[in-house]
């Protein structure tokens, strides 16, 4: 029964995630499925192998009722909330939270509420660790595979290590030993050329084992060494596997964005005199105006973000680069222009009638690395001049501004229509590429 439940749980995680990621990124949908599916698999296998050490009190009615809220909320997040975030989808990854909730709901029904509670923490940690913005906030640097692994290991393992330790003093020491183990082993493995996922896995394992070994040594009457028997029956093992599974995800090496092959879109180069900033080590951003070629009241601007990896360029929030004159309501649509796939982000000042259409795509640079192009087309109300947003990179407030804008813009009607036809936007796209190539 549990194996069937495991299969259902994996399906529950995988199918919606797959559908969503295909809609968002047909280039390579698998990575979006991976985090929760892997963790769910690991946790469920452990559940199958290791009976829970808990009172044998069960209740089917409770299981069903407890599943309702996470299923409904998770379903709503997958169906609605993901689309509301517009270009911030890839920063916040609300699908992971939705999937986490759905997985918990399904686990409640199939495995029981107690087992779902057992799975909740590692699954939540996995979802959080897989979110680029979490890594950005925790490290202040561009997300990468090694950082993802470390964050995952910390999020999943260390709080529980602290909780499990028997006494306060030992707990602190154990935490320090475990943290040192994680950092040291991960860094060493990475330096020796191991893949980031492998390094993370080694780091997480080392932290857990180091902490457990220290605790075992401190307890009088216990034998020296790693208490493998106890470890195998504990949540630490569960969390170790969960953290390792997340760590194995190579965030940086797998593209998740509709990336154009070199020569298809062509690369966009900043003209001389364009404003340019280095946001983070290896990540630069530049902006310059362009003539969209439409009526006189239309203005255009290109914002080019360059880096070495997809997360490096994708997780630079667009709202951290340009400042809209008002609270603008974002929405996102995917278009095909001249056979090419681009994302169209619409921003609107509904009250005054201003609209900003942003075409966005990521392409590979001929010399290596990637670049994200945001071509902004500003259109004012009929007969009035349009306004361009101010180019003023300020990533320090990215997260706060994004969340604040999302809440503040609630009152706006976000169901915007495409203001121009595909031919107009295709013209804009062509002008951007021709004018700057």
């Amino acid at each position: 029964v549990r194996l069937v439940a495991l299969a259902c749980l994996l399906g529950a995680c995988g199918v919606p995630s797959l559908a969503l990621s295909i809609a968002q990124s047909p280039a390579d949908p698998l990575p979006a499925v991976a985090p929760l599916a892997l963790v769910a698999a690991a946790c469920s296998l452990l559940l199958v192998a290791v009976p829970l050490r808990a009172p044998r009190v069960t209740d089917t009615e409770t299981d069903v009722i407890a599943s309702l809220a996470p299923l409904l909320l998770g379903g709503w997040m997958l169906a609605t909330a993901a689309g509301r975030l517009g270009d911030h989808f890839w920063e916040w990854r609300p699908d992971l939270v939705g999937l986490w909730l759905c997985a918990i709901g399904i686990a409640c029904v199939l495995l029981g509420t107690r087992a779902a509670g057992f799975l909740a923490a590692p699954l939540a940690a996995a979802a959080l660790a897989a979110t680029p913005i979490t890594q950005l906030l925790l490290t202040g640097l561009a997300p990468g595979p090694g950082r993802a692994a470390l964050v995952a290991a910390f999020l999943t393992g260390l709080p529980f290590l602290v909780k499990r330790a028997p006494a306060r003093r030992v707990r602190l020491v154990r935490l320090a030993v475990a943290a040192a183990g994680v950092l040291g082993a991960a860094a060493a493995a990475h330096e020796l050329g191991a893949g980031a996922g492998v390094a993370g896995l080694i780091g997480a394992s080392s932290g857990v084992i180091a902490g457990a070994a220290y605790a075992g040594r401190r307890r009088p009457g216990t034998r020296r060494g790693v208490p493998l028997g106890t470890l195998g029956r504990s949540r630490v093992a569960l969390l170790l596997v969960a953290g390792g599974a997340v760590a194995a995800i190579e965030l940086g090496d797998v593209p998740r964005w509709p990336i154009a092959a070199p020569g298809t879109y062509g690369s966009v180069a900043a003209p001389p005199g364009a404003a340019s900033y280095e946001l983070r080590p290896g990540v630069t951003v530049a902006a310059w105006p362009f003539d969209p070629g439409g009526p006189d009241d239309q203005l255009g601007m290109v914002v080019l973000t360059s880096g070495q990896s997809v997360p490096a360029v994708v997780t630079v929030p667009f709202d951290g680069l340009v400042h809209w004159p008002v609270d603008a309501c974002p929405t996102v649509q995917t278009l095909r222009l001249d056979g090419l796939r681009v994302d169209l982000h619409l921003y609107a000042d509904v009250e005054r009638g201003f609209r900003w259409s942003t075409l966005q795509w990521v392409s590979r640079r001929p010399g290596g690395g990637l670049e994200r192009v945001d071509a902004i087309l500003a259109q004012g109300p009929s007969g009035e001049p349009s306004e361009l947003p101010a180019f003023a990179p300020d990533l320090g407030l990215d997260a706060e501004r994004t969340a604040g804008r999302f809440v503040a813009a609630r009152h706006l009607d976000c169901q915007l229509d495409v203001p121009q036809g595909a031919d107009v936007l295709g013209t804009v796209l062509g002008r951007v590429l021709r004018g700057t190539a």
Binding site: A54, P55, V57, T58, D59, E61, T62, I65, A66, L68, A69, L72, L73, W76, T80, A81, R84, T113, R114, G117, V407, R410, H411, D413, C414, Q415
Partner: protein
């Protein structure tokens, strides 16, 4: 209570009542209230007019949502928020009354005159499938400060409960404790067992304890003093508390809830002269008043709350005494949900029973008393069940801003709802924090501050209760006891506060 020790298995030497008496007692236990006052019996969930009204409301709401979604949703949301506001104001008034003039008996209990005329006291201890706690029973009751010759302690065991009987065989049951085997029959509920015990009770006063209970030694004497001081009082409720309150967060929440309920709420209700829903144990009752009221309702799974209302409807007063009984707090979430769902189901059932004849209810209790039954007994599970829905709506509203939300919540409804969400929730947390402060159990402060998370569990239990009331109204959701492994229990009779 000391002396009279026996060897193991000796309880079987004391014969059970004759078979004819047992059969008659069983008939009375099941049918006394149902036959004498069928309108007050929970053997039926809904009478015809109640079913018609509920069906009509459901039909109207469904049709309304299909044909006029916005108006119907607005009316429903407005009605719910109005219920929240009224319940909040009502609870606030009860707490204010309690703070100003809590009606808790603290009468002196050592006066020679009182000691000279102590009445015979019956103690009923119903157990079912609880072999793990049966051993603690003797030590718990043995600590009571009461003359053993005036004690009529009865252990009520279902005759087909082999595990408990086997545990009894291994126990040295003292002389002052009678074991009555309750004939197996439906409904299998605690009140039926208590009614059976009532038929053989010989005391003037009666109380109920669970097997794992640890009453404070002076509790019986304090109850006697309270009854002596107020002849019109039929029942006094002792405070319930937990000896494993530090075991985990759930037991802390549970303790905080009980602190509020037994220190603030029940004394406030008693002071206001409103019906008091009695607690599950440690209710001390004049046995003649209990028999006059028809005993417990064997079909009601919160027979204690129901009895409190029936006593009030017959004009008896219910008081609160300042003595604690220490129980085992439910430390497992699923076990807790099962227990709480039974309580909520019983509350709903009790409210449906007493609202069958609304005019009579108002005649018996007055408008305030009848309103109190609605808000204390009826609204508690209903609001707990709806909470989950309202929280999800709030979350979706804040994060998702679904289209048309503004039409569903016109300004008055929106502001009243916001008031409930912000002020109401804060007020509840403040009051439970106040309970912690007054009891000086500061280690519960974190639990009080995180109390809203406890409501999530309550919501699950309330939904389960509504579901079960529909399908299995008299099913007794058994609570597993003995989950406190590793938690030090206080010596019998010692306070742990």
């Amino acid at each position: 209570v000391t002396g009279g020790e026996q060897t193991t298995g000796a309880w079987r030497a004391r014969p059970q009542p004759p078979e004819s008496d047992r059969a008659a007692a069983l008939d009375a236990a099941v049918g006394r209230l149902r036959d004498a006052s069928p309108e007050l019996s929970a053997s039926v969930v809904l009478v015809r007019w109640q079913a018609a009204v509920l069906a009509g409301l459901a039909f109207a709401a469904t049709v309304g949502l299909l044909l006029a979604t916005a108006i119907t949703a607005t009316v429903l949301a407005g009605g719910l928020i109005a219920l929240y506001v009224v319940a909040l104001v009502d609870r606030g008034s009860v707490v204010a009354r309690s703070l100003g003039q809590g009606r808790v008996h603290t009468a002196p209990i050592d006066e020679p005159e009182l000691a000279a005329r102590l009445p015979t006291y019956t103690i009923l201890v119903p157990v079912y499938d609880e072999p793990e706690v049966i051993g603690r029973l003797v030590s718990g009751l043995g600590a009571l400060d009461y003359p053993p010759e005036l004690l009529d302690a009865i252990l009520l065991v279902e005759e087909d409960d082999q595990r408990t009987i086997a545990a009894l065989d291994r126990l040295a049951v003292p002389d002052w404790l009678r074991v009555l085997l309750v004939p197996a029959s439906e409904p299998r509920t605690k009140p039926k067992a208590c009614n059976y015990g009532l038929e053989f009770a010989v005391g003037e006063l009666l109380t109920i304890y669970d097997a794992e209970d640890r009453p404070e030694p002076n509790q019986l004497r304090l109850a006697v003093a309270a009854f002596s001081a107020e002849p019109e009082t039929a029942c006094v409720q002792a405070r319930l508390d937990f000896y494993n309150d530090r075991q985990n967060l759930l037991t802390r929440w549970f303790t905080v809830e009980y602190l509020f309920w037994f220190q603030f709420f029940l004394p406030g209700l008693a002071a206001a002269g409103r019906p008091v829903p009695l607690g599950g144990t440690s209710q001390h009752i004049r046995i003649d008043a209990l028999r006059d009221a028809g005993g417990w309702d064997p079909f009601n799974v919160t027979e204690d709350a129901d009895l409190g209302i029936r006593l009030a409807r017959r004009g008896w007063r219910v008081g609160v005494i300042d003595s604690a009984t220490y129980e085992e707090a439910n430390s497992d979430p699923i076990n807790w949900v099962r227990q709480r769902s039974r309580w909520y189901k019983g509350y709903l059932h009790t409210w449906l029973v007493h609202s069958r004849a609304p005019r009579q209810l108002v005649r018996d209790l007055g408008w305030r008393g009848a309103g109190s039954v609605l808000l204390t007994i009826g609204a508690t599970p209903v609001l707990a069940a709806i909470n989950q829905l309202t929280w999800m709506c709030t979350l979706v509203f804040v994060l998702g801003a679904p289209h048309g939300a503004a039409r569903l919540f016109p300004a008055p409804v929106f502001y009243a709802g916001t008031f409930c969400a912000l002020f109401g929730n804060t007020a509840v947390v403040y009051v439970v924090l106040l309970s912690v402060r007054i009891s000086r159990r500061y280690y519960l402060a974190t639990a009080a501050l995180s109390y809203p998370a406890y409501w999530l569990l309550m919501a699950v239990a309330a939904i389960k209760a509504v579901w079960q009331l529909w399908l299995r109204p008299s099913f007794w959701e058994k609570t597993a006891h003995g989950l406190t492994a590793g938690v030090a229990e206080p010596p019998a009779g010692e306070a742990t506060a």
